[in-house]
């Protein structure tokens, strides 16, 4: 919310993460299956950020990797699996066995988190919606409360607004002034950036002009973004509509890589820790069947 009045600065990925992500931060890396900011997340791992509270509706493989590398002490989420494949084994190992460190969780439904991001973007303290009716999550998560409509008397669910220290997203394009454009499945990325104090956006390319587009294309004006880094293929193994497809083969292969601690650590060492910032799109899907 405390966005500076000047425009987003174009930085290298390592400089953008260095400047915007701090130990102990509340971090939201969003992208609903599409446009997941893998390159930026890997840079957070390389820079060994610690004690992060990670927020994300669907933790996906990216948070499995951050959790397994010891970056997180808490996870706020609503669906923690490998879509269409099975478990996130590093998330489970951290939560069930405390490896590599204990992981606190705050669990919600998708509706609650989507509403909470929107409330954060709107500067409200909480989100109000009709939800969590007759289910057990409200008994185990003290942040799920209720509020009575002053007009109708209906009891509605309330959850705190999401207000991250930093939001990290990937988008298709930025222009030279630092305006950001994204399209396709846009998820909660606009809300996450507007809810956060700082934001990092990686993009497929920097263009002189966005060119012909619908007037309703999602645009984040330069003055709402802290830093932009140009990282082609920065979402792989997720995807960028109009650029490359989701690498479903890698999502399937991750099951075998992440199931055991040793194979996970070996993969992270070879494909993240020993790679250069943002220059590892092939490495990010290493192990996928050809």
């Amino acid at each position: 919310m405390a966005h500076s009045s000047h425009a987003a600065r174009l930085l290298s990925l390592s400089a953008a993460i260095e400047e915007c992500v701090r130990d102990g931060d509340v971090v939201a890396m969003e992208g609903f299956t599409h446009l997941i900011p893998y390159a930026a997340g890997h840079e957070v791992i390389r820079q060994q950020r610690k004690r992060l509270t990670l927020i994300r509706m669907t933790p996906d493989l990216l948070y499995d990797q951050l959790i397994g590398m010891g970056c997180a002490e808490k996870l706020v989420f609503s669906w923690g699996g490998n879509p269409g494949v099975g478990s996130l084994h590093r998330l489970r190992d951290a939560y069930e066995n405390g490896w590599p460190q204990p992981l606190e969780i705050e669990e919600h439904s998708h509706a609650a988190m989507a509403n909470a991001y929107e409330a954060g973007a709107a500067g409200l303290p909480c989100a109000i919606f009709r939800g969590y009716i007759g289910v057990d999550l409200r008994h185990v998560n003290p942040n799920i409360r209720s509020i009575t409509c002053p007009f109708t008397g209906e009891e509605l669910a309330a959850v705190p607004a999401i207000r991250p220290d930093v939001a990290i997203i990937h988008a298709q394009r930025a222009d030279r002034e630092g305006n950001v454009m994204l399209e396709g499945i846009v998820g909660v990325q606009k809300e996450a950036v507007l809810a956060a104090r700082r934001s990092v956006v990686t993009v497929e390319e920097i263009v002189d002009d966005f060119g012909p587009r619908s007037p309703n294309t999602v645009i984040l004006p330069a003055w709402t973004v802290s830093a932009i880094a140009c990282v082609p293929q920065g979402a792989r193994p997720s995807y960028a509509q109009g650029y490359y497809k989701r690498d479903n083969g890698f999502y399937i292969a991750w099951e075998g890589i992440a199931r055991e601690r040793a194979s996970f650590l070996a993969w992270m060492k070879a494909n993240v820790l020993e790679r250069q910032s943002g220059d590892c799109s092939a490495a990010r899907v290493s192990g996928a069947r050809a």
Binding site: P83, G84, V85, R130, G131, G184, K245
Partner: protein, 258 residues
């Protein structure tokens, strides 16, 4: 893969039975996995006009292969429109515009409450499952809910470890007492049979048994004492067209995700 269109597996029977429940005029919120196969089979056979909606924001999508995730590019490429996730949950789901929510789950009880959160205690689970995602609000906001799950004693249990999404609660008028006006689960399609709620108790009872399946098999694979509708019949076996379209869909999907 067999090209014999007279033989079929119990999994194929389940998907086909699930697909048949959908109507051409339905607006259906699609869960990933088994529900997604059933919904797209319906669209490719008897319900070409059905509106399929995935929680990633894609409305009126017509994928030629089954998505691996809820947000594959194929869903967006073929959708009538794609909206943000907050809009999807607020205007379209909470707004009451969905006729059918199609769900799966890890565990189900006799009142069709679902668990996809934990096996064992929440704080110290034996198995941590992915969690609810969109299901808690899909289960309460869609006009009715269809569920499809393979039937076995690990999944069909007497008592859930955790209620992730509400079916008929403890039965009777439980949903109405919670202020819900929606119908909750009206069909449960398994690989053995089809359940529907008893009109009074709302317990899920068998209304149709798939061809060749016995009541002993159903009892052996269910963690509660199954009751049967007095007029419980036999599910018609898959037609040649249903099997062919389903197998071609799976074949295209395998090739696309390899």
């Amino acid at each position: 893969m067999t090209q014999d269109l007279t033989e079929y597996t119990s999994a194929e029977m389940m998907t086909i039975a699930a697909a048949r429940t959908l109507r051409n005029e339905d607006v259906c919120f699609v869960g990933i996995g088994a529900p997604s196969a059933a919904c797209n089979l319906a669209r490719l056979t008897h319900a070409p006009g059905i509106t399929l909606i995935y929680e990633s924001g894609t409305i009126g999508t017509r994928p030629s292969v089954l998505p691996l995730s809820i947000g594959d590019g194929e869903l967006c490429d073929t959708a009538l429109t794609t909206v943000s996730v907050p809009e999807m949950f607020r205007y379209w789901l909470q707004g009451g515009r969905i006729t059918v929510g199609f769900l799966g789950g890890a565990q189900i009880d006799r009142y069709a409450n679902l668990n996809t959160t934990v096996i064992g205690p929440y704080e110290k689970p034996k198995t941590r499952l992915p969690g609810g995602g969109g299901a808690p609000e899909i289960a309460s906001h869609c006009r009715e809910i269809y569920i499809t799950m393979a039937q076995n004693r690990r999944a069909f249990v007497d008592k859930l470890d955790f209620i992730t999404s509400l079916g008929h609660g403890t039965g009777g008028d439980h949903r109405a007492r919670l202020g819900l006006k929606t119908q909750g689960p009206t069909r449960l399609l398994t690989d053995l049979c089809i359940f529907a709620p008893d009109p009074v108790t709302r317990e899920m009872i068998v209304i149709s048994i798939h061809a060749g399946v016995t009541r002993e098999q159903i009892a052996a694979n269910t963690g509660w004492e199954v009751r049967y509708a007095t007029n419980a019949g036999v599910t018609p076996p898959p037609t040649r067209e249903e099997l062919q379209v389903l197998r071609e869909l799976h074949e295209r999907t395998r090739a696309a995700h390899a």
